[in-house]
């Protein structure tokens, strides 16, 4: 029993879950309003887009690459979908948006993946170029202004709940229906990563490229799959956030700067910073963790201008802790600083 307990408590996800609870309780001690059902649902609602983007970036990080263009993909696809649908006089719901945005997002991200894979460039550098390009494209070619002209079918989507509760302060609130998309995406990614040959490939490729290539995996293929999934989920987050979270308009600079929060959440969720380790549950918990902290700060009366500082501190502290832990556990020999760059 003690061995099992220790194994259970040693898991990163369990520690993170306990940390989320502990931090929530501490914030609740200072401000009782934080510990309410409405807050839980608000945090979940705010987590939806970040969770989708985090799940998307997970396979990319597993390969040991970093992408930041996904936020631009989300902005461009949602804006393009809206412009197209609006011109055709579309009055339906979210389905039409998803139908256009999802393939478009996958295609743009696939382009990033293909360019980096074929020319052996770091994904990060290419994605930085695309990041700038996509936001420039939105602002110059589509619309420099926010678009409030929503179709009739989307009106009321903001208050579409799965579970409804009455809160004394905010009134009727609940679990937003968009959470279904997160659950579907999480289950799908978990199944692929856990039970398919290609899914295991992400872990092997991130753990040791040489071994993976000799086993018969192709980096080009894996990277393309990872980036396509990344783009598709980012596009989904882009169309959903407008309706389920804070915004009720289409924004040419949607999520600009949010890439740091997403990467921070995924890394805090236990995804190895060198690739090869990470889990779906970890990503979801990491996203909730960042949401609890950033929202909790507001409940504690801290100015929102301090949020980025706190996220930055968390990232740096987390880097230090994981690195020290890896050193204590005697890390993987292939990960020591000496081999840095040799596989590049």
């Amino acid at each position: 029993m003690p061995r099992l307990t220790r194994k259970f408590l040693g898991r990163h996800e369990v520690i993170l879950f306990l940390a989320v609870i502990a931090i929530s309780v501490i914030i609740g001690l200072f401000n009782r309003a934080f510990l309410s059902v409405a807050t839980i649902f608000e945090i979940l609602r705010g987590s939806i887009p970040y969770a989708l983007m985090g799940l998307g970036i997970l396979p990319v990080l597993l390969l040991g690459e970093v992408d930041i263009s996904f936020v631009g993909v989300a902005a461009t696809t949602s804006l393009v979908a809206h412009t197209l649908l609006h011109d055709f006089g579309y009055a339906g719901g979210i389905g039409g948006y998803i139908l256009i945005a999802l393939p478009l997002g996958a295609a743009i991200a696939l382009a990033v993946g293909l360019i980096s894979a074929l020319f052996r460039l770091p994904v990060f550098a290419v994605s930085l170029g695309f990041w700038l390009m996509l936001y420039g494209f939105n602002l110059f070619f589509i619309s420099p202004e926010m678009r409030f002209d929503l179709p009739l079918g989307l009106v009321g989507f903001y208050n579409h709940f799965l579970i409804k509760v009455q809160d004394p302060i905010v009134g009727e609130t609940g679990l937003h229906v968009a959470v279904v998309y997160v659950v579907l995406a999480a289950v799908a990614i978990w199944l692929v990563l856990r039970h398919t040959v290609i899914g295991r490939g992400f872990y092997i490729m991130g753990g040791n490229r040489e071994v993976a290539v000799r086993t018969g995996y192709s980096l080009v293929k894996l990277l393309c799959v990872a980036m396509a999934v990344n783009g598709a989920l980012a596009a989904l987050a882009g169309v959903l956030v407008l309706q389920c979270a804070y915004k009720r308009f289409f924004d040419p600079i949607l999520f600009r700067g949010a890439e740091l929060y997403v990467i921070a959440a995924v890394v805090i969720g236990g995804t190895s910073i060198t690739g090869g380790r990470g889990s779906v549950i970890g990503v979801l918990l990491g996203v909730v963790f960042v949401q609890v902290i950033t929202r909790g700060l507001i409940y504690l009366g801290v100015e929102p201008t301090w949020q980025q500082l706190v996220v930055g501190c968390m990232l740096v502290v987390f880097f230090i802790l994981t690195s020290l832990r890896a050193r204590l556990l005697g890390g993987h020999p292939g990960r020591s600083g000496l081999t840095r760059g040799e596989g590049k």
Partner: protein, 341 residues
Amino acid sequence: MRIRSKSRETRLSFSQVGLAVLERRSILLLGLLVAILFTFGTTTPRFLSYPMFRVITSQCAEIGLMGLGMGLAWMVNGVDLSVNDTANLSALTAALTLKHVSHGGSVAVGWLIVSYLIALLTGLLCGTLNGILIGYLDVPPILATLGGMTLYRGISIAVTGGRAVAGLPAMVAVVGRGTVFNIPVPFLIFLGIYAAMYLVLNHTAFGFKARMVGINARAAYFSGVNYRRVIMSVYMISGLLAAAAGIIIMGRTRSVAYEYGTQVYIVFALLITNLAGVTAGHYGITAAVLATLTLQILSTGFYSRFMTLPGGPFFNNFLWGLFLVAVLVFAQLLKRLRGKS
């Protein structure tokens, strides 16, 4: 058989001449520079004039200094994404010091120097944190400096509440807008730092060690080089250079804002590094300076071209993103071409 091999030889030597030109990155860049100057000179009125020269040379220092730091990191298989935010944070510390000690818009020269030293110290500290994370804790450079970037920008936002710090004493403008013999001071600073970097990289033990670590850290380790310390020093220098860039920005704009340049300056720094052809263990610093000038002329040319358009700055950003991807691909193709022959 004999003939075939001979023809191959001639073909090889012919392509070798072409490659030699391509490989001399400085010559390539100089050609590019002249071509761009010619294009803008003939199409844009009053492009080849003293005011334009002054604009270009006084602006190139800030991106150039960040680019030099980025190039150093690139040379040891790393990257420093925090250069721009280090620059802004360093300038912020100097600006706050100046605000504290100045009376009615004037400040003693001593205090000005003290504030510059504080800025440099801030840059050094930022660089040290990056260096510890990358060199000693083996955090991948992209993520480590992304974390550093978030942290430094976060500090700037938290301290200023997201507002710009303006109304600095007029004396700070000397570094940003002053001229000596009609040559802008920022450009002179840039050239001075270039000379110093050239000497350090090519004529000191540290420069040699840094190049060794870039080529093969393991081999360097077995030759008795403390590669961790070398990597940390590289990021410290990068932080110092960024702080110098921040001081120049503060002088040029007479204000400090956390968001100054946050969209394009990292792209510029990466472009300089890639245009200059910096690879692991190889850093042609003259090429980096030429790349900086090329980029700045291009940037100023674009600016005078598109700023009159509605939404011009956005189109500018779009072009820079496209340009970065194109340069990355081109540099890689060049490398592949060289590898084949």
